[in-house]
């Protein structure tokens, strides 16, 4: 009995020894040299692997940071300025200042304002609805409401509002990774510069039709009347293709354009109530 045990122990130990020697040499031969700084940088990255930086995962981004000459054009939207500063410290480079952004839906066409003119009975997928026809309303630019953006969000920052049939973006959870921007076939979501206290002013419309058809399709459409352009003292508003657009970097949040807009197409969010009562008819997207 003990002889069998002895032989077993010896033969298995010999097997283990030979295997470890082979493994050691193989590991040495096939070793890849990697800059140890890549591991260091990867440590401080948020590990969300969302692709918001434009690279395939956090490790890939860490490699890019280590190899890059400067941090120009490189930014982790999820980690933000803190993470970029830490990475800069590790690598002895300078992190450029990048304004934090947040996703905003440039459409306010809920059924209250944008009447339904047909029933879409296909797969609940915006890309498929978009290639099929103009959509359930007469606005060929507006939100289709099937939720591709919500499915694309991996941070739980979006949900479909059943009353407005529009996606709602939760500011606290949005990390600006850009997944929803890519998912929307009508390019309705924009990453706008974040302001203090999550305040926002933007033209909640993407309709490029002339005023008549736009207004017929949706009560709160932008009709390109140019009143907002004229009232803005900071030249923050431009009109291109019958559609007004507010530049978030120039806007000072004076709110004059909001009251000036005759169709209430411009939306203000998270502001204190105004001192004088104004006829603000609509505010469907509330905080």
């Amino acid at each position: 009995m003990s002889q069998i045990v002895l032989i077993t122990v010896l033969s298995l130990s010999l097997l283990a020894l030979i295997s470890s020697i082979i493994l050691y040499f193989v590991a040495q031969k096939f070793k890849i040299f990697e800059d140890p700084r890549i591991d260091e940088v990867q440590e401080i990255l948020p590990a969300a692997n969302c692709g918001g930086c434009g690279f395939a995962g956090c490790r890939n981004f860490a490699e890019a940071l280590v190899k890059a000459e400067t941090f120009e054009g490189l930014n982790c939207p999820v980690g933000g300025a803190d993470v970029m500063a830490k990475a800069a410290e590790i690598l002895g480079k300078v992190a450029p200042v990048v304004d934090p952004t947040v996703a905003v839906l440039l459409c306010n066409g809920s059924p209250e304002f944008r009447p339904q003119t047909s029933v879409y009975d296909g797969v609940a997928d915006c890309r498929i609805a978009h290639t099929l026809y103009i959509g359930e309303t007469d606005c060929i630019f507006g939100c289709l409401g099937e939720g591709d953006c919500v499915s694309a969000c991996t941070f739980g920052a979006m949900y479909m509002n059943p009353e407005t049939k529009l996606p709602f973006i939760i500011d606290d959870k949005c990390v600006s990774c850009g997944a929803c921007v890519k998912a929307c076939p009508r390019h309705l979501i924009e990453l706008r510069k974040k302001a203090r206290k999550d305040r926002k002013i933007y033209v909640a419309c993407s309709n490029c039709d002339k005023g008549g058809p736009a207004k017929r399709a949706c009560k709160v459409a932008c009709i390109a009347c140019t009143k907002c352009v004229k009232v803005c003292e900071y030249n923050a508003i431009t009109i291109v293709n019958n559609l007004a657009y507010i530049d978030a970097t120039k806007c000072t949040f004076c709110r004059k354009c909001v009251t000036e807009c005759p169709t209430n197409s411009i939306i203000e969010l998270n502001f204190p109530p105004r001192k004088q009562p104004t006829a603000l008819k609509t505010e469907t997207i509330t905080s």
Partner: protein
Amino acid sequence: MKTFPVGGVHPPENKLTAESAIQYLPLPLSVSIPVTQHIGAPANVIVNKGDYVKTGQLIAENKGFISAKTHSSVSGKVNKIDTIIDSTGFKQNAVFIDVEGDEWVSTIDRSTEIVTEIKLPREEIIQKCLDSGIVGLGGATFPSHVKLTIPAGKKCDILIINGVECEPYLTSDHRLMLERGEEILTGITILMKALQVTRAMIGIENNKQDAISHLTSLATAFQGITVHALKVKYPQGAEKQLIKALIKREVPPGRLPLDVNAIVHNVGTAFAVYEAVQKNKPLFERVVTVTGKLVTKPGNFFVRTGTPVSRLIDAAGGVPEDTGKIVSGGPMMGKSLSNLDIPVVKGTSGIILFPKSESERMESYPCIRCAKCVSACPMNLEPYLLMSLSEKGMFEKAEAERISDCMECGSCSFTCPAGRPLLDYIRLGKTTVIKIARDRAIKK
């Protein structure tokens, strides 16, 4: 009986209007003629607001070779040139005309006598097709003069005429063959002259026995035209399946029928070619079937292009009470319409009104791997796999699995017992793969 060997389904035929003789639809009060009613480069409008136009007058020029001209279908004043939603579901430019009388361009021969002698030489026939705005009336609306122009290095030895009409409900080609048989055969002879071929085969599905015997007896007076009965199976009318059934040749993937020395034209196109070449009449009207189980007066109508669909439906007794869906084309490949102002165009073969009970899709369940979609696909594809790949975004793999071979006939979605939206995702996959392939070619 001849048929294609792989795939195919048998949707109920519902040929409610097979016995209804073609009527002329009275002119509407106004028309909205889409400028581009063909595949290819969009046409350029050459009329302006306020112009007076005559029936048959040119209103849009073709842009380049793979494009087509568009003619006015009525006489009257141009009200405006504006966008309209057409049967594709998207907006395009259209010429809106308020109808005044029915004054035709003087060069059109309006006599009804059938002219069988073909005086024009080959090149002029092709030019006539271009000048008359002839496009494929089977539904694809490909410019016919392009199809008749054989590029160097290729040759054609047979003309195949598509009288199959495999889509349920539609009977416009059937009635045209029964009532205008001689004109069609003359048109086929014109096409044969243009292509310099001596043989033409007309394929007709076996549910149109009367058309088969009628054309067979008429064809004895014409040289080289034979009529063939085909087994009733969808999609027999698809050109690749038609070529396979009639002459047993398979068009290679990504290629055209000309690559197997054949050219296919629809019977309606042959009729339009007759009118263009023998009567100088451009293409501005066609036969449209208006049908549906609840429709009170279904029928086949000669309709001028630009006529709103509402007008057609009124002539058929109006929109029935319980209507849920209105389709332009056949139930398998047609496009559902979102409103009734959409105009009839050169490619509109029929308008079908479905009751609400038949308008909603069945609920979709997980795939049970029954492989009925694989048996149904006439292009030897595996639809369940193509849908999975498209759904998951694996478009390179979908390209390798030959998703571009798909002709979107709908047999897979039709037959799937679990009600899966196979064709929806395959279409998405196809458009994405085309984009990927185009980007790849640009990069090179």
